[in-house]
Chain length 355, copies 2
């Protein structure tokens, strides 16, 4: 086992289970609040989940960071996207200068935005981008592995390092966002490999290819899998086989966030597939995950179902970038405030019938 | 026609249709933003709806107020609630002192909270409550009309007056919240009268009566309707027949808000029934309405279906108070910011494939 894989094993081992004691304490507290028991529905479940993650029934006020990681993919050469590859770098610059949807949404919900070049084909020289590119774009996985195994591990570790840094700075919610032309194809391939599902079930229109394009994507994914033969029992091997760098990086953010007892908010198919990879590496990480929304991309529901996560929102959003994840931030903040700030029946002198 | 009914007719006439020109201008603007067309789903629809309501494709930043109106209902004497009537006044005090769920949520989402005594049985002497009670609790509608017709109109006009005041102060989003022991029964009766539906379809557990309690509620609603014989073509008559004061007041807030070109956010069954009443009085008001969430109370889906409104959230919330409406505020704020603050393809130098 290489030194890199040892570091990954140590990261995985550092993800502790959530605290069921804190979750129960939170439910006890919620049941004393001035409202019928359970009447705030999933808001109460979220509050309890936050207690379980942070290990206390009085979690600190929310401090959310949205990590948007961008990368390119050699498989874009197979014509699987409605957009040319140059758009990844253009959008990375747009993230850094504040004009993209996720920038607007991060400001709207009061989240920090961290923009990461995790492996864009051409380096982008714009202030505000963190460059952690291990490789400048993955290889075309229809012809062999997308990434070397060590590079795949390096990208995961780099994500965990960023998460550790954010958690040390007080972040307690990490939203996983991404950008990368052709990355719905890559995510579909990785999910198909990990879940042993038919590529046709996992491929959809992405940013806007037509029905013929979807069939073509499924055929490309089938070739990615046939050429590389990934083993679902070896998640790092699956990642190296099909890519991609932003998914690897975000899986690392998820692992590092969970290790730091932060909630990890999944966005769409790509971000959720990073969450799936993290959960396959460290099953304890699943306890820290929140599904923000359901996108119309068909693979997304399959990945969330496998993880046993129910999305909070279903608004027909299919942009990625962490845009759906951003909208979960105020809901999580509200859940935390309900748990910590609401009056109890005895505080407020309200008659409690125990219902 | 009385002078009061003339004032109501003038209020109704002051609700203008939404601006379809501004809606189209907003869609044009959204299609130039750096994202595939329509990829932000319902967030884009909300942005366009906000443009249509406010009459401009560049609406001002959101300023939301949650109006929580409380009242008592004589029909509580029929044993339709899990809670005693005294809880209405206790909760009104809890709203004013900041401990209730809606207080916490209003702070979390940055909305102003306006607490209104719209007709609680016993006056509550707590600072921070606006008292506009026309009557001190409605009469038991199983024995005759809940409200005099003029009092019903007075309560609607009082709500509109508050909305006018808030809109003059810069509020552009009004959330309708409520509290009142037995008010799911009253709302079910009013919805049954306006929609000509079987009371059994509209009655549910409310804050927590069991299955026997639900059947009893439906039977009580049937008596309320049989005794008063409300005519669905006369919405004010239906309101006077079954009550209640907070629903009347909130219908007035909806009418006044729509007249002031503010968005009006509906919460659960009771608040949405106030929206239904407003829409029956002034069909133009419907264009300003947003359904924030779907509660498990069975009548809620029926009322929203009739209005043709799709809820944004489905989180199993059944508290009322405007709690679900509060959670829609950050989503609306995000929609507005997407419309006004995002970069266009040409601003950002991003390749536009027209998808």
């Amino acid at each position: 086992v290489s030194e890199l894989e040892q570091r990954l094993a140590a990261l995985v081992a550092s993800v502790a289970p959530t605290s069921e004691e804190a979750r129960e304490a939170a439910w006890g507290e919620l049941d004393r609040k001035t409202k019928p028991r359970g009447s705030l529905g999933r808001l109460e479940e979220l509050a309890a989940a936050m207690a379980a993650a942070t290990g206390t029934a009085t979690p600190e006020p929310l401090r959310a960071a949205i990590v948007v990681a961008a990368a390119d993919h050699g498989v874009a050469a197979e014509g699987v996207s409605a957009y040319p590859q140059e758009v990844t770098a253009q959008m990375l610059a747009n993230f850094a200068t504040g004009g993209a949807a996720v920038c607007v949404l991060a400001r709207a919900v009061g989240a920090e935005l961290v923009v990461v070049d995790a492996g864009v084909a051409t380096a982008v020289d714009v202030p505000g981008v963190r460059t952690v590119a291990i490789v400048r774009g993955s290889a075309n996985a229809t012809r062999g592995p997308a990434l070397g195994r060590e590079d795949a591990v390096r990208a995961v570790l780099a994500g965990a390092e960023l998460a550790h840094e954010l958690v040390r700075g007080g972040t307690n919610v990490l939203v996983l966002g991404e950008m990368g032309i052709a990355n719905t194809t890559v995510a579909a391939a990785l999910a198909a490999a990990l879940l042993q599902r038919d590529p046709q079930d996992l491929c959809g229109p992405g940013t806007g290819v037509g029905p013929g394009g979807v069939a073509h994507k499924a055929e490309v994914v089938s070739r990615m899998l046939a050429v590389n033969g990934p083993d679902p029992a070896d998640p790092v091997g699956c990642l190296a086989a099909v890519g991609g760098c932003e998914i690897a990086f975000l899986a690392g953010v998820a692992l590092g966030g969970a290790a730091g007892r932060a909630l990890v908010v999944l966005d769409g198919l790509i971000s959720s597939t990073a969450g799936l990879l993290a959960a396959r590496l460290a099953p304890n990480a699943l306890g820290y995950a929140v599904a923000s929304h359901l996108s119309p991309e068909p693979g997304h529901a399959i990945v969330l179902d496998d993880l046993g996560l129910r999305p909070l929102l279903e608004l027909g959003m299919r942009l990625g970038e962490g845009s759906g994840g951003a909208l979960a931030v105020p809901i999580l903040a509200a859940a935390r405030d309900i748990l910590v700030e609401m009056a109890t029946f005895s505080d407020a002198g309200v008659t409690d019938t125990g219902r």
